[in-house]
């Protein structure tokens, strides 16, 4: 462990490349917590945005025109506005409307933390795209296949769960893949409301240590690794869901 730290100290002394995160425990911890926050934020937003996508796509097939129009409005709103403004909107506009609550130390604090607003904002942002992505997948499921399920006694919900969704998922995966990659990258915006994710941690470090160039490289490499891991998992999933003989 120490040898790693020593090597990076030497690297700084000999070449002027200052990667404090590898030898300064404080910066190291900040950085790790930043990665942890980014991963956690991404994972929660991915899960929630997929739930929103599935439910939204289901509602878009509903009989109620009002429900359908509500979902359509939601999609338009989140797809046609910049995610940073959405985040500000939730954090500053909606957040300030909520009454303050007293925390365990007796202080007056907002009832919803900044990270929660980030989760809400990004989940709805990516969810809007997921609704469209899943809907396209659902529309690609042949009417005749659904009819076959109906003829076997499946209700609309059961056919949706056991036939339509599994098939729609397969069609949707490439587009979903793109959107989730985008979502992970979008989490950096939460820097703007002070969520201590990866970019925030890096900025904290470089503003103290003045190693902007080094931390920029670290940031880029970190995101390549995180997004690469996500793509790997998605590709695995895609392969596992492959339908032999269909090439999908």
């Amino acid at each position: 462990m120490d040898t790693v730290a020593d090597w990076f100290k030497w690297l700084y002394a000999a070449h002027g490349i200052n990667l404090t995160i590898f030898y300064d425990p404080l910066d190291g911890n900040r950085f790790l917590r930043g990665i942890g926050t980014t991963l956690g934020l991404s994972a929660i937003c991915i899960a929630l945005s997929m739930v929103i996508g599935i439910v939204g796509a289901w509602v878009q097939g509903a009989r109620s025109a009002l429900l359908r129009r509500l979902v359509q409005g939601y999609i338009q709103f989140f797809r046609n506005t910049p995610p940073l403004i959405q985040l500000y909107f939730f954090y500053f506009a909606v957040g300030s409307l909520l009454p303050r609550v007293t925390d365990m130390h007796g202080a007056q604090v907002p009832p919803v933390s900044n990270i929660t607003w980030a989760i809400i904002s990004f989940s709805f942002f990516a969810g809007a795209f997921n609704v469209e992505i899943f809907r396209a997948g659902i529309e690609a499921v042949p009417r005749a296949t659904i009819e076959a399920a109906e003829a076997l006694g499946y209700s609309r919900l059961k056919a949706y769960i056991h036939v339509v969704l599994p098939l729609a998922f397969r069609v949707s995966l490439p587009a979903l893949n793109n959107n989730l990659v985008n979502l992970v990258k979008t989490t950096t915006l939460s820097y703007a409301i002070g969520v201590p994710e990866l970019l925030y941690a890096a900025a904290q470090i470089w503003s103290e240590v003045l190693n902007v160039r080094e931390m920029m490289n670290v940031l880029l490499i970190s995101y390549v690794a995180i997004v690469g891991a996500l793509v790997l998992v998605m590709n695995r999933w895609e392969r596992a869901m492959r339908m032999p003989g269909y090439g999908v």
């Binding site: 005749a144 076997l152 098939l167 032999p244 003989g245």
Partner: protein, 248 residues
């Protein structure tokens, strides 16, 4: 009045059905008795598929009555599940679930819809696949099967629900001549076991051999019907004569 097996299992009375301005069924009336095999023949677009689809409530009818084991299909309070347990349907395009193996295709509905025990269903599904001579293809996906094999899986899938009546809608129309036979063999065996069958077909030889009664439809009405020997030997209506002369 409760239905008893000595009454017709299906009673179709004065059924009318339109799609928009086009009246597809213009008052169709006939009965099917238990254990009877009836064949419906007629030119393309005469409403044969529509008639079958009305029987298991895949399309609603506007006027008339369809009783299946005494249960009115044209009833807003119809229990569709109860109806579809009694009525199995096999389609021209097989419509298997492409993301499931042949065995899973057969097992799905009894497990999802009837909530039957998985082990018991699996044993029955294997027996059904053996019956349609596909035991060795249990683990194959639909995309890996020939048309004739897929159609036999579709028959097994339908039989897994233990229906009292089977509807076949031009089940060999999409197959090449060699594979037509293997599907017809499966249906012939089913008929020999006493299954009530409503068969829409263009296979006149098959209809002549298997049917107890033949119905000829044209433009939404039944033009002529009778036992196959009479029907083919001395058709009375000029439209029947013309149709038979074209097809034989």
């Amino acid at each position: 009045m409760a239905w008893t097996p000595d009454q017709p299992i299906i009673r179709i009375a004065d059924v009318h059905k339109s799609f928009g301005p086009i009246e597809v069924l213009k008052g169709v009336t006939f009965d099917v008795r238990k254990g009877e095999v009836i064949c419906v023949i007629g030119p393309s677009g005469s409403g044969k598929s529509t008639l079958l689809r009305c029987v298991n409530a895949l399309v609603p009818i506007e006027r008339g009555s369809i009783l299946v084991e005494g249960q009115e299909v044209n009833d807003p309070k119809l229990d569709k599940l109860a109806l579809r347990r009694k009525v199995g349907m096999v389609f021209q395009q097989y419509n298997l679930f492409p993301h499931k193996t042949a065995l899973q295709n057969v097992m799905m509905a009894p497990i999802h819809v009837l909530k039957q025990d998985r082990n018991e269903v699996e044993a029955r599904a294997i027996a059904l696949l053996r019956k349609v001579r596909l035991a060795e293809k249990a683990a194959a996906y639909p995309g890996e099967l020939s048309g004739g094999q897929q159609q036999r899986v579709a028959i097994a899938r339908s039989l897994a629900m233990n229906p009292d009546v089977m509807l076949f809608d031009e089940v060999t129309a999409a197959l090449d001549p060699e594979t037509v036979k293997e599907v017809l063999v499966a249906i012939r065996e089913l008929a020999a076991e006493g299954m009530t069958c409503m068969i829409v077909t263009h296979e006149m030889g098959f209809a002549r051999e298997l049917a107890h009664h033949i119905y000829f439809t044209d433009r939404g009405v039944i033009v002529e019907h009778g036992p196959p020997t009479d029907f083919f030997a001395c058709p009375r209506d000029p439209r029947t004569k013309e149709f038979l002369s074209q097809i034989l």
